[in-house]
């Protein structure tokens, strides 16, 4: 680009004004100076408009994860982790990003027709799914929320922040990039803050909260509930999670960050349930969220047995078949909508 000196120095001045305006309220004296500067020349106005557009483009830019920069202020250890995560995953992330971009583009097309000349404001929402029901909620900024069964959600978009409260269940959030307006999910006393990413927040049966990131980065603040008279200190820790990382919060304490396969962990959003060495009782409970026909296990020993596998949530028969091949489990329909799983009948040894 032709960088003639006079333009460059005007661009620099325009940039300084923009940054000043972006940082907070200007005093009257500052505003007078700004107007005086604008009125000095059309070039000043043009450059200020250009810097504003540049800011807009940077807000829409989605490649921040691929930019290598030390962003934690601490040295080597964290930098290494971030760099490795970035180096390991860029190929998969970019492919997923194009798919996401295509999906979002389709969503935008639909929204654009509806919202054409309006300054679209997201109305407050309360959404609830029943057992076995999954729902996809599209918000006016292009973000989507894939809700699992038995999930309750409140959406409250404000000017400074896009607030979502997860009251129960699990949801996968695909957040549209808006650098000026963070997307914050609160679940009990934990908050998860994102700018433009894909991540899941899930209530587990024991009351734990699990946060898994598929793409991008989120900041998780886990807090124990306040007792009366207490207040939160500024020193509350914020844990940064990158793609394919997971955190569990129990009783306000967060676990160490686990490296996981984001796609498998969040497969439930596509109806795929993945279990790794989980009690049959827990697996059955998960299945029951997705199906009208409820599985039951009464035998304690059977309930405590552990299994691993990936299952289609809407296909409990396949799961039952798996259990019988692996553990000899028998299934008996006890009513219209309940199936009892029982341990194998003892082999009938005819004791002479």
């Amino acid at each position: 680009m032709d960088a003639s000196d006079p333009r460059r120095s005007v661009a620099a001045a325009a940039a300084r004004w923009f940054v000043e305006l972006d940082s907070g309220e200007l005093s009257r004296r500052d505003r007078e100076e700004f107007v005086a500067w604008l009125r000095e020349s059309p070039v000043h106005i043009a450059e200020f408009l250009r810097i504003s557009r540049l800011h807009g483009a940077l807000s829409k830019f989605e490649g921040w994860d691929d930019i290598l920069a030390e962003v934690s202020g601490e040295s080597n250890v964290v930098a290494l982790r971030v760099t490795q995560a970035e180096r390991a995953a860029p190929e998969r992330v970019s492919k997923a990003k194009w798919r996401l971009a295509a999906g979002l583009a389709a969503t935008f097309l639909v929204l654009a027709v509806v919202v054409m000349t309006q300054w679209s404001v997201q109305p407050d929402l309360y959404v609830e799914t029943r057992r076995g029901e999954r729902r996809d909620v599209v918000l006016t900024d292009g973000s989507t929320v894939l809700m699992g069964p038995g999930t309750r959600l409140k959406v409250r978009y404000r000017r400074a922040q896009r607030d979502v409260e997860l009251l129960a269940g699990r949801a996968l959030f695909k957040v549209a990039k808006e650098a000026d307006r963070p997307f914050v999910v609160s679940a009990r006393n934990t908050t998860v803050r994102a700018v433009g990413t894909q991540f899941g927040v899930e209530y587990e049966s024991r009351g734990d909260l699990v946060v898994t990131v598929a793409e991008g980065r989120v900041a998780v603040k886990a807090r124990a509930p306040l007792r009366s008279g207490q207040s939160y200190t500024a020193a509350d820790d914020e844990v940064l999670l990158d793609a394919n990382q997971q955190l569990t919060v129990s009783a306000g304490m967060s676990s160490p960050v686990r490296i996981v396969d984001g796609r498998s962990e969040l497969g439930w959003a596509q109806g795929r349930l993945m279990f790794e060495n989980r009690r049959i009782a827990d697996v059955v409970e998960r299945f029951n969220e997705y199906n009208d026909v409820q599985l039951r296990v009464r035998d304690e020993a059977l309930a405590e047995r552990r299994v691993s596998g990936v299952f289609d949530a809407s296909d409990p028969d396949a799961f039952i078949a798996f259990l019988s091949s692996v553990a000899g489990v028998q299934a008996r329909r006890t009513s219209n909508d309940a199936v009892l799983l029982e341990p194998p009948a003892p082999a009938e040894h005819l004791v002479p």
Binding site: M1, R7, A11, A12, A14, A15, R16, F18, V19, L21, D22, S23, G24, E25, S27, R28, R29, R31, E32, V35, L38, R39, S41, P42, I45, A46, E47, F48, L49, R50, I51, S52, R53, H55, G56, A57, L58, S59, K60, F61, E62, G63, W64, D65, I67, L68, A69, E70, V71, G73, A101, L109, T117, W119, R159, A179, D180, R193, V195, R217
Partner: protein, 210 residues
Amino acid sequence: MTIENIVKEALKGAGGPTSSLDRSSSEESRAIMTPVETRTRVADWFSRWRAPLRRFLSSRGSIPTADIDDVAQEVFLRLMRYDRSEIVEHPQAYLFRMASNVASEWSIRSRLRHPHDSEWLGVLESEDRPDETHARRAAESEIREAIERLPARQRQIIKLRFGEGLDQAAIAARLGLTERMVKRDLANCYATLRMELDEELLGVLIHGRE
């Protein structure tokens, strides 16, 4: 409707500030503020800055890249006509609003001159244009390369600003810098990227098409 009235309407819609919020003298000391003052200050900042900026960047406020200098010339003339004290109340709102109005006035005029063009545009907007993704990819790639050429600290700061949505104070805290240093680096960053990046491509990212 005169521009003046349009801006007044726009400011009303944005929850514009009342005169009681003008704190020209108390601004001198950035003293500890009560929570109510903080909320009012933030709300004020939003209606004076963020909301007008956002409108300007939406497709409703868009200016064709090629026209920026001409639009600026016209805005310059219009600014001269206004009472300075009125503009000083809401300079950014006036500026962005005027620029968008000029651009839309001109585009209406050109549509009237060439009515068949607007039909053609209508068809294009409803189709999925294949080269849009390509243009977008090109824009993202050019931006990424320009960012990677920035000095390390500027790159850190801009990544925190846009990748994580932190404001200047939070960036300063995270990196152990003063806010003044963050402001300076951020401004240098904007200035450098402005000179290096092609505006047409930026337009693709902002509006999805040019």
